[in-house]
Assembly symmetry: C2
Homo-oligomer: 132 residues x 2
Amino acid sequence: MAQIQTLSKNQKIILDIIEKANEPLKAYSILFNVQKKGIKAPLQVYRALEKLIKLGKIHKVESRNAFVACKNSNCDISKATAFSICETCEKVTEISDQKLSKYLKNFQDKTGMIYKKYNLEFYGLCTACKRS
Amino acid sequence: MAQIQTLSKNQKIILDIIEKANEPLKAYSILFNVQKKGIKAPLQVYRALEKLIKLGKIHKVESRNAFVACKNSNCDISKATAFSICETCEKVTEISDQKLSKYLKNFQDKTGMIYKKYNLEFYGLCTACKRS
DNA sequence: TTAAATATGTTATATTATAACAAACGTTAC
DNA sequence: GTAACGTTTGTTATAATATAACATATTTAA
Ligand SMILES: [Zn+2]
Ligand SMILES: [Zn+2]
Ligand SMILES: [Zn+2]
Ligand SMILES: [Zn+2]
């Protein structure tokens, strides 16, 4: 609420659209939706997306090239994201699981590489699609 | 070794290139590299990639739109993949960690969604880049 | 051996994303 | 207030990634 004030005009417009959507939005679908508000070029969208990701307001669902509003508390400013994705209906849900995130944040490989961030995507069948 | 016989001509050519590379390859870089072997169109590459992924011979690194040969035993035919990615030098390594894969395969969310697959990407700083 | 499934070749096009440049806006510091 | 700085915007063009649609060929298996 406080931080939203620091967003620029385009950033607000685009965050608003993404927050109101109940599904991940693609960049060009966002572009189409904001053209009436004066945002005409892909770069205007991509620049806002980039900033919003950096702020942890939204995440990119990498395997879908789509963008969703963060449903957790900005996921440590975008450093730890996990999604469940239904391969049938394409419904995407952000996973909020303390144990999982703790496990992954603490994960260390053999090489000693330092991990600053992770993104995890589960693919499967949602409960609605399972029934039908 | 047995299964490689079942690959088609284009699939063999493209798997060969990917296996010999020590880095993830992009589709159009693969295309460029196989043009001397008669593969001229993007679709020929993408179709082979799709099949190789299905067979678990290669994986797609989603955040990089790039393809790497599987370094494990085909990762249960491509159902469970994890990578470490250096954000400085872009080095990508497939993670093989029994505990991690067991943990993720058994992961269940609150909704009861059935997970058939996952892809996990860690981003950070590799040991070489850490030193410099 | 013929039907089905898989793979190929080809052209065109769709989709996703960035480069390069110029101008405007919003801090903050003096 | 205004200079200096970083950030945001606007704009045109283009790069990079991926698929549609259609015709043909090859392989597999009943
Ligand atoms: Zn989040
Ligand atoms: Zn579903
Ligand atoms: Zn693998
Ligand atoms: Zn590195």
